[in-house]
Amino acid sequence: MSDQTCVELAKAEEILDRYPHEEPSLIQVLQDVHRAYNYLPCDVLVRVAEALGVPLAKVFSVATFYKAFSLEPQGDTIIKVCMGTACHIRGAGQLVEELERKLGIGPDQTTEDLAFTVKTVNCVGACAMAPVMIVGEKYWGGAKPARMETYLAGGTDDEN
C-alpha cells in the first residue's frame, strides 16, 4: 500500500452512494470503481471494504479473482485481443505477436508511457468476424497483423 500515491476518494464515494451497503454490491461497485479510475487503487479498496462491511481480505480476494479487475494502473487505450476458438483458428495469436513487436509489450502489460495496455480476452462473442481486436471502444473484425498501425492509430470504420 505504501508504494502508491494517495488517490482521490470522491469518485469512490459517489459510486458507493449508488449501491446498498452490503456484500452483494461488491462486484458491481468494483466494476464502477475500475471504470472511474481505470484500475482498483488500494486506498479505494480499503474504503469499499469499510463502507460495505466486507473484510478487506475478501475484497482483495474478489479483486484478484475476476479478470475484469486490475490492481495496476492501465494504459489510456486498452487493446483487447480476442482469444476465442474462432479467433484462435483464424490467427489471433499472430495479432498478439505483432503487438509485441510494435509496442514491445505482451498480454497484461502496459507501455511505459501508459499509452496502451494489451489484454487477451476469452471470446467477446463477435466470432463471426474473427479474428477480433478491440482498441479502446472500437472493434476490428477480420483483423490482420499487417494492418496493426491503422488499428493503433484508431482508423475509421471505412477501413474496417
Binding site: 473484510p55 478487506l56 481480505a57 482483495f60 484478484t64 479473482f65
Partner: protein
C-alpha cells in the same frame, strides 16, 4: 436415523450425518485433507471420494461423490475402495505430490497409495501449501477473515490483502495450528508474536509473567463475548488456580 452400508458393514447414524461420519462409525478410514470437525465441509481436496448408490437406483449404478459433504440416506450403499475410487485418489495424490514434493504429510499419504515419485512435472518451487482452505475457513469461523484466497486457478494462493501485514489479524494462530502441513510460520516470544509479517504485543499473566495471548486477540474476544479483558490475560494454569480458590472460599469442596 438412517441405516446404510459402508463396505458391506451396516451402520445407523444421525439424520444430518455425512457419508464421512458414517464411514467413521463403521470403522472405515477415508483420507481427507480439507475436512475438520466443526468447520463446514468444503469438498476441495477430493481425497475422500467414495462410490455411492441409492436404494432406488439400479444395482450396479454408482455415483462418485465426496464423503465429507454428502448427506446420508436410508438404504444407501457406500463403497470406499472400488477400483475407480482408488485410482482417482491416486491421481489426486500424484498431483499433490507434484505440487508439494517435499511435504512429509503428502509424501506419506502418496506412499500409502503406492506412489513414491510423482508421474507429473515436479513443482520447480516446492511449497507446503496444499490449498485446503482450512486456514481461511477457520479465520472466517472466528469472525476475523484476515486472510483469504488470492488469484485463481494455478495462481491461487492464501495471502493477506495486498500481501502486506493483515490489518484485521488478531494473531490468534488458529490458521497456523489448523494447517495440516505446518506451512504457516509464526514465532512467539515473551513479549511479541509474529505471524503473516505482523507483530503483536503479548499480554502476560499478571501472576506468572508468561506470555498468554496477543492483546489484539484478547480485545477481539472481549468485544465479541462481553467477558472482561482481564480474564483472557490469565494463563490456563492461573485460571484453574483461581477457580480452585473460588471453590475453596465457597467451600464447595470440603
Amino acid at each position: 436415523m438412517p441405516t446404510l452400508t459402508v463396505n458391506r458393514r451396516s451402520v445407523t447414524v444421525g439424520d444430518d450425518a455425512t457419508i464421512l461420519e458414517a464411514c467413521r462409525v463403521a470403522g472405515v478410514e477415508v483420507p481427507t485433507l480439507c475436512n475438520f470437525d466443526g468447520l463446514e465441509p468444503w469438498g476441495g481436496c477430493r481425497l475422500c471420494v467414495v462410490d455411492m448408490s441409492l436404494r432406488t437406483w439400479d444395482d450396479d449404478w454408482f455415483k462418485m461423490v465426496t464423503a465429507c459433504n454428502h448427506p446420508v440416506e436410508e438404504g444407501m450403499t457406500v463403497v470406499t475402495n472400488s477400483d475407480r475410487v482408488v485410482a482417482t485418489r491416486g491421481v489426486v495424490l500424484d498431483l499433490l505430490l507434484a505440487r508439494c514434493p517435499e511435504t512429509p504429510l503428502i509424501q506419506r499419504l502418496a506412499r500409502e497409495h503406492g506412489i513414491e515419485e510423482t508421474t507429473y512435472q515436479r513443482n520447480p518451487e516446492p511449497t507446503d501449501c496444499i490449498l485446503c482452505g482450512l486456514c481461511t475457513r477457520v479465520c472466517d469461523h472466528i469472525g476475523v477473515s484476515a486472510i483469504a484466497s488470492v488469484n485463481r486457478g494455478w495462481g491461487r494462493e492464501i495471502a493477506p490483502p495486498f500481501n502486506e501485514p493483515p490489518p484485521d489479524c488478531v494473531g490468534c494462530l488458529a490458521c497456523a495450528e489448523i494447517c495440516p502441513t505446518d506451512h504457516i510460520k509464526f514465532s512467539t516470544s515473551s513479549t511479541v508474536r509474529t505471524i503473516w509479517g505482523r507483530e503483536f504485543e503479548m499480554l502476560r499473566d499478571p501472576a506468572t509473567g508468561e506470555a498468554v495471548i496477543t492483546k489484539a486477540q484478547a480485545e477481539h474476544f472481549a468485544k465479541r463475548s462481553g467477558v472482561p479483558m482481564s480474564y483472557f490475560e490469565m494463563s490456563d494454569r492461573s485460571k484453574r488456580l483461581k477457580t480452585a480458590k473460588t471453590f475453596e472460599e465457597l467451600q464447595v469442596v470440603k
